[in-house]
C-alpha cells in the first residue's frame, strides 16, 4: 500500500517520539506575525534561549496594520506590537518583510508569493489559516504561542499524527461557481467539526484544474471545516507558480521539482476516509448564520428551526437567527447589506481582484453601502495597479495591504449591527469588530454583486459570467 503526501512529509520530518507518545516534528518553515509572536519571544528571553534556525523563520505584519496610513497606526497598542516585532526580528536574526520592504502583507499571501512555501515541507505559524500553504503540497499547521516558542527554540514541536480524509470533487463547476463556493459547500456538507482529527486532501478534476490561488482559497478554510490542515498534491501548476520566486533555489530546478513531486500521494495511498462530491451540485454558496457551516446556496431559503433534525440543531439555528436578525424561511437573496469587503487570506489575491474587475465596469456601489477592497500584500497591490481605478470608478475604496476587516484588530471594523458581505473566512459573532456585527461569507464576485445591488444577490443574474470560473 502506498503513502499519502501527509504520511510522506510526516515521516521525513519526524525527529523522534516523545515520552508522552507524541512525535517531535521538524518544522521546516516558520512564519510569524505581530500578534502571536511577542509573547513567544518573551518566553525565549525568560528561558534564556536563542532561535535555533533563524533563517527558517520569516516575519511580516498584517493583523493590526491599518489599511490607510499604514506605518502610522493611531492606536498606541498597535504601534507597540509593530515595534516589538521589529525588535525581536533584529535581536534574534529573523527575516522581516516590513512595510518598507514592499513585500509586506498577510502572512499566508506573503509565504507563497516569496516562494517560501514549498511542496514536501512542514510549515507552522501562530495563525489558524496556515492551512493555506497546503495548496502547495506542504503540511501546514496553525499553532499556539507556546508552540511558536517551541519552534523558535528548537525548530520542532510536539504533535500527534492525524488521520487523512481525501475529498474528491469531480466534474464541471457551473460558471459563476468559484473556489470559495467549493470550500463553503464542503464545509456545509461535512460540518464545522467534521474535520476534527483529520488532514484534508483535496483531489479530483476540480482541484486539478484550479489555479494555485484558487487552491489556496480552498486550503485556507480547511480549519473552518475543523481539519488540522488541508492540502492539494503538487503538480505542474505548483512548479510553474514557484519557478523563479525569490526563495526558490534555481541552481538545479529540475532536481528540486522532481523531489517536490515525489511527495505527492501514491495512487494506492491509504486514506482513513474518502468523500466524493459532484461539482455540478455546487451552487454559489453564502452563509446565513454564525458558523462557517451555516451555508446555503443563493437560491435557498434561510433554515427554519421548526425543521431541525435535532434539538441541538434547533437551538443552534435559533441562536444564529436571533444574532443575525434574520427570519426563518426567508430567501437569503435580498438580505440588505451595509458593508462589502473583498480581501483576506482567503480571497485577497490578484486573481480575486482581476475576476471581480471583469464584471464591475459600468456598475456603481449602491447608495449607503461602504465597499472596501484590500489587497493581501504590497506585491498584490503593486501588481493590481490599474485595477484600483476600475474599483474606484465603481465606488469601491482600494486600500493598503493587511487583514483589514477580516478581524477586529485594526481600524477597519463594522459598527453596531451592520451586515457585511465578506470574502473572508469567518462569520463568528463579533468577528468583524463590532460585538453585534453580522457577516455573510461568499465569493469575491458575489460580494461585488451584493455591493452593487445593496443586498445579497445571485451574481450570475447581475453579471454575464459565461466563462468557466475555475481556470483551466
Amino acid at each position: 500500500m502506498g503513502k499519502s503526501l501527509f504520511q510522506k512529509v510526516w515521516e521525513a520530518h519526524t525527529v523522534g517520539s516523545l515520552a508522552d507518545g507524541r512525535t517531535q516534528l521538524f518544522i521546516g518553515t516558520h512564519l510569524i506575525h505581530e500578534v502571536t509572536s511577542p509573547q513567544a519571544f518573551g518566553m525565549l528571553r525568560d528561558l534564556g534561549l536563542k532561535v535555533k534556525y533563524p533563517k527558517r523563520t520569516f516575519a511580516t505584519v498584517d493583523h493590526i496594520v491599518p489599511t490607510i496610513n499604514q506605518d502610522a497606526p493611531q492606536d498606541p497598542l498597535a504601534s507597540d506590537m509593530m515595534e516589538a516585532l521589529q525588535q525581536n526580528c533584529d535581536e534574534f536574526g529573523v527575516t522581516y518583510f516590513d512595510l518598507k520592504s514592499g513585500k509586506q502583507g498577510i502572512v499566508h499571501v506573503v509565504g507563497p508569493e516569496q516562494g517560501i512555501t514549498q511542496p514536501g515541507t512542514t510549515i507552522a505559524c501562530g495563525d489558524s489559516h496556515t492551512a493555506t500553504h497546503g495548496a502547495f503540497g506542504a503540511i501546514a499547521f496553525g499553532i499556539g504561542t507556546t508552540q511558536v516558542r517551541d519552534v523558535l527554540a528548537t525548530q520542532t514541536m510536539a504533535l500527534a499524527p492525524v488521520k487523512v480524509r481525501r475529498i474528491e470533487v469531480n466534474g464541471e463547476l457551473q460558471p459563476g461557481v468559484y473556489a470559495k463556493d467549493v470550500i463553503l459547500h464542503i464545509i456545509r456538507q461535512l460540518g464545522a467539526k467534521g474535520g476534527i482529527g483529520y488532514a484534508y486532501e483535496y483531489a479530483g478534476d476540480v482541484f486539478d484544474r484550479m489555479s494555485m490561488e484558487e487552491r489556496m482559497t480552498v486550503c485556507n478554510m480547511s480549519i473552518e471545516g475543523g481539519a488540522r490542515c488541508g492540502y492539494v498534491n503538487p503538480d505542474a501548476k505548483t512548479l510553474a507558480y514557484l519557478k523563479g520566486r525569490p526563495y526558490v533555489d534555481m541552481n538545479d530546478f529540475d532536481a528540486t521539482a522532481e523531489r517536490w513531486l515525489s511527495f505527492a500521494s501514491d495512487a494506492d495511498a491509504h486514506y482513513d476516509d474518502i468523500v466524493k462530491i459532484d461539482a455540478a451540485d455546487i451552487e454559489p454558496t453564502v452563509t446565513w448564520g454564525i458558523s462557517p457551516d451555516h451555508g446555503i446556496s443563493i437560491s435557498e431559503n434561510i433554515p427554519d428551526p421548526a425543521h431541525a433534525k435535532s434539538n441541538e440543531q434547533k437551538a443552534t439555528i435559533e441562536e444564529a437567527l436571533s444574532y443575525m436578525k434574520l427570519e426563518a424561511g426567508m430567501p437569503i437573496d435580498g438580505v440588505k447589506i451595509d458593508v462589502a469587503f473583498i480581501g483576506s487570506c482567503t480571497n485577497g489575491r490578484l486573481s480575486d481582484f482581476r475576476e471581480v474587475a471583469k464584471y464591475i465596469k459600468g456598475h456603481k456601489v449602491a447608495d449607503g453601502v461602504q465597499a472596501i477592497v484590500v489587497p493581501g500584500s504590497q506585491i498584490v497591490a503593486h501588481q493590481g495597479k490599474g485595477l484600483d481605478k476600475i474599483f474606484s470608478e465603481a465606488g469601491f475604496e482600494w486600500r493598503g495591504a493587511g487583514c483589514s476587516m477580516c478581524l477586529a484588530m485594526n481600524p477597519d471594523k463594522l459598527v453596531g449591527d451592520q451586515i457585511c458581505a465578506s470574502s473572508s473566512n469567518r462569520n463568528f459573532k463579533g468577528r468583524q469588530g463590532s460585538p453585534t456585527g453580522r457577516t455573510v461569507l461568499m465569493s469575491p464576485v458575489m460580494v461585488a454583486a451584493a455591493a452593487i445591488k445593496g443586498h445579497v444577490t445571485d451574481a450570475r443574474k447581475l453579471f454575464t459570467i459565461d466563462s468557466q470560473a475555475v481556470a483551466s
Binding site: 520530518h13 525527529v15 523522534g16 516523545l18 515520552a19 508522552d20 507518545g21 507524541r22 517531535q24 521538524f26 521546516g28 502571536t36 509573547q39 518573551g42 528561558l47 534561549l49 535555533k52 534556525y53 493590526i64 492606536d75 497598542l77 507597540d80 506590537m81 514549498q118 514536501g120 515541507t121 501562530g126 495563525d127 489558524s128 496553525g142 499553532i143 499556539g144 504561542t145 507556546t146 508552540q147 517551541d150 528548537t154 525548530q155 520542532t156 510536539a158 464545522a192 467539526k193 476534527i196 475543523g226 488540522r228 528540486t256 523531489r259 458558523s291 441541538e312 443552534t316 441562536e319 484588530m409 469567518r426 463568528f428 459573532k429 463579533g430 468577528r431 469588530g433 460585538p435 453585534t436
Partner: protein
C-alpha cells in the same frame, strides 16, 4: 525546568451554554493587542458578559454571583473552535479556570490548553447535562477531574468516565505538559533530521 504534574483538578463548576463556542467568543480579537498574556483574564467572554451597547452586565453565567470562583468550566460540543490564538486558553486560565469538561473540543484549543497545564476532558452530553443540573441547583458542588483515571466525581454524587487522548493524559500526569525541555534535549536528533531535509 521542573514542571508540576497535573493529576487532578478540583473546584466548583459553571456551565457555559452553546455549541461551537469559538475563540473569538472566548477572547474577542481587540483584546489581543498585547505583548504579554498578563491581564487577559478579565476579558474572557467579554462580549457575552457585557452588553455591547450599554456596557451593562448580561445574564451570562459568569456574571452570576452564585458561580463566582468556579474553576471547572462545563460546555457543549466543539468548544474552542476558530482561531489558533493561545490567548483563548490563556484568558480562561488567568480568569481562574483549572479544567474544562465538554462534549468535544477543537483540536488547536485542546492542544494549547494541555500545553498550559489546563486539562480538557470529553464527557457525554447526558453526563454534562446532569452535572450542570447539579451545579445549577447547588453551586457549591465540588467537581474533580481525575486525569490519572479519566474520571469525573462530584460532591453531588456523580461519577463518570471521561476521555482524553493518551498523549495529553500522559503529558499532564507526568509533568511533561510543557514539552520544551524534552524538545531541547533532542538537539542532536533535530540536527540530524535537518541535515537530511533537502531544503533546510
Amino acid at each position: 525546568m521542573a514542571i508540576e504534574p497535573v493529576t487532578q483538578v478540583t473546584g466548583r463548576g459553571v456551565f457555559i451554554p452553546g455549541a461551537d463556542i469559538d475563540t473569538d467568543r472566548i477572547i474577542p480579537a481587540r483584546f489581543m493587542k498585547c505583548v504579554t498574556f498578563d491581564g487577559l483574564g478579565e476579558f474572557a467572554f467579554y462580549d457575552v458578559r457585557f452588553n455591547p451597547d450599554t456596557g451593562e452586565k448580561t445574564d451570562h453565567p459568569l456574571n452570576d454571583e452564585r458561580f463566582k470562583g468556579a474553576s471547572i468550566l462545563l460546555a457543549g460540543v466543539n468548544f474552542g473552535c476558530g482561531s489558533s490564538r493561545e490567548h483563548a486558553p490563556q484568558s480562561l486560565k488567568k480568569y481562574g479556570f483549572d479544567g474544562v469538561i465538554a462534549e468535544s473540543f477543537a483540536e488547536i484549543f485542546f492542544g494549547n490548553s494541555t500545553t498550559l497545564g489546563m486539562p480538557c476532558v470529553v464527557a457525554s452530553a447526558e453526563n454534562i447535562a446532569r452535572l450542570r443540573a447539579d451545579v445549577e441547583a447547588d453551586p457549591s458542588v465540588e467537581i474533580t477531574i481525575d486525569i490519572e483515571n479519566l474520571k469525573v466525581f462530584s460532591s453531588s454524587g456523580m461519577e463518570f468516565n471521561v476521555e482524553m487522548p493518551a498523549s495529553a493524559q500522559e503529558a499532564l500526569v507526568s509533568g511533561r505538559w510543557d514539552p520544551i525541555q524534552e524538545l531541547l534535549d533532542n538537539s542532536s536528533a533535530i540536527e540530524t533530521t535537518a541535515e537530511k531535509l533537502f531544503y533546510v
